[in-house]
């Protein structure tokens, strides 16, 4: 089946550029305050971009203003997720997709590393079991 993102959509606007609805800047302020809190108090935070009243072009504008930093992570769990540090250290984008590549969550995390990147205790316990089983086979 043809996916929605495969359908070509021509965006028309008077100036030939995507209209900005000015919703990116307030989020940048929120990010700044969160980053200051993280720097001084160590408080990590997360902003869910899906629940915001974004107009056409707002999300693209926000991601463009945040830019790309040095680290990119690809995670493959129930579909692919891409995680990258923005040009502003400590500000991360977490873009979760399902198995069909459709977006399921888009978040901005403020902290040293997004929580989901860390190895999880449950998975480590499972890894010990599997490693032991493998050694027993030899």
């Amino acid at each position: 089946m043809q996916r929605l993102q495969d359908i070509a959509i021509k965006v028309e606007s008077p100036e030939g550029v995507q209209a900005s609805h000015g919703n990116a800047l307030p989020i940048l302020h929120e990010i700044l305050h969160a980053l200051q809190r993280f720097s001084t108090e160590g408080e990590q935070s997360c902003i869910d971009l899906r629940s915001l009243p974004f107009g056409p072009g707002d999300e693209e504008e926000l991601l463009r203003l945040l830019g790309r930093g040095e680290i990119n992570v690809t995670m493959d769990a129930l579909g692919e997720s891409t995680i990258w540090e923005t040009a502003f250290s400590g500000v991360w984008i977490v873009d979760h997709r399902n198995a069909e590549g459709e977006p399921v969550a888009l978040q901005i995390e403020i902290g040293p590393v997004p929580q989901i990147v860390f190895s999880q205790q449950e998975d480590i316990v499972d890894a010990i079991d599997r490693l032991e089983a493998q050694l027993n086979d030899h």
Partner: protein, 368 residues
Amino acid sequence: MADDRKKLSMTLGESLRQQGVSRRGFLKYCAATASMMALPPTMVPAIAQALEKAKRPSVIWLSFQECTGCTESLTRSHSPSVENLIFDHISLDYHHTLQVASGDAAEAAREAAMHENEGKYIVVVDGSIPLANPGYSSIAGISNLQMLEETVAGAAAVVAVGSCAAFGGLPHANPNPTGAVSVGEIVKDKPVVNVSGCPPIPTVITGVLAHFLTFGSLPELDALGRPMVFFGQSIHDRCYRRPFYDKGLFAETFDDEGARKGWCLFRLGCKGPMTYNACATAKWNQGTSWPVESGHGCLGCSEPDFWDAGGFYNALSIPDSDLTRKTGYVVGAGVALGAAAGALNRSTRAKAAAKHETVTIDDLDKKS
């Protein structure tokens, strides 16, 4: 069958682990669920903890006087993935539009689900119920009213999906030839959640089910019985065109300069200021867009009697401050289901079957 039963008794955490889903995958699922339920991301650990232990509830879906748009809306839902939600996390035991079985076999499946999950299952209803004549809408010869009353008797809660089930919808529009009423007008002794919208937003339907699954309770409701997380703010309050409204910049026709510049659609009949729904942020078609974003005013589809509220293209003439209703929201925790589950009508499968009064072709000819 034995496998099905084992699956039912497993918690969600156990069944995901059995499928080889890592903790990271589970956390990702929880992040998507939190986003879907419009809960802050800080809730993810609490959601993970609750979902880890959640068991699959049985869901019986009844379709009455409807156009199937609500089921269409749900089956187009993708987040986290309705297939996951339906087949892994709830047990959809009856849905006569989607299931293969029909007639007596289908009704037997419904009665079996009611019997086996007495006091614990959720009834989802789309469509309104005709009271003028039972023959206007029946399934396997059972009138909508009878099927609703008998199915709800042993349920934990009822979710009225779509404006027809929530408020009567199109069938209820003047002059209401079938005598259509909403679910809430019939069900008085069980918690009823209204997920209105024509159609309702799929993530709102799954969000309510996910809330039940996560917290074992229903979400906090507004004065019209709708979940506050999704219906707590008006379309107008969340509309990205609002800055234009505040500056008095309005499109006057659908193709003028204002329309091209994305100005406010109030004068073209937008009912956003009196409409409470989540489409301004949840959006349609995999989060692609929503009516106002594609240049058309809001019709007010999630409000009672929106069909009869004047023309869709007539501008609201009352000043905005009068339109922003002060709804008397129910404040506090979600509606606990424990009490409802305790006050059960212990109807058995045999009793339910015996009670059926079949609607015949003669009923259709009867004057209502």
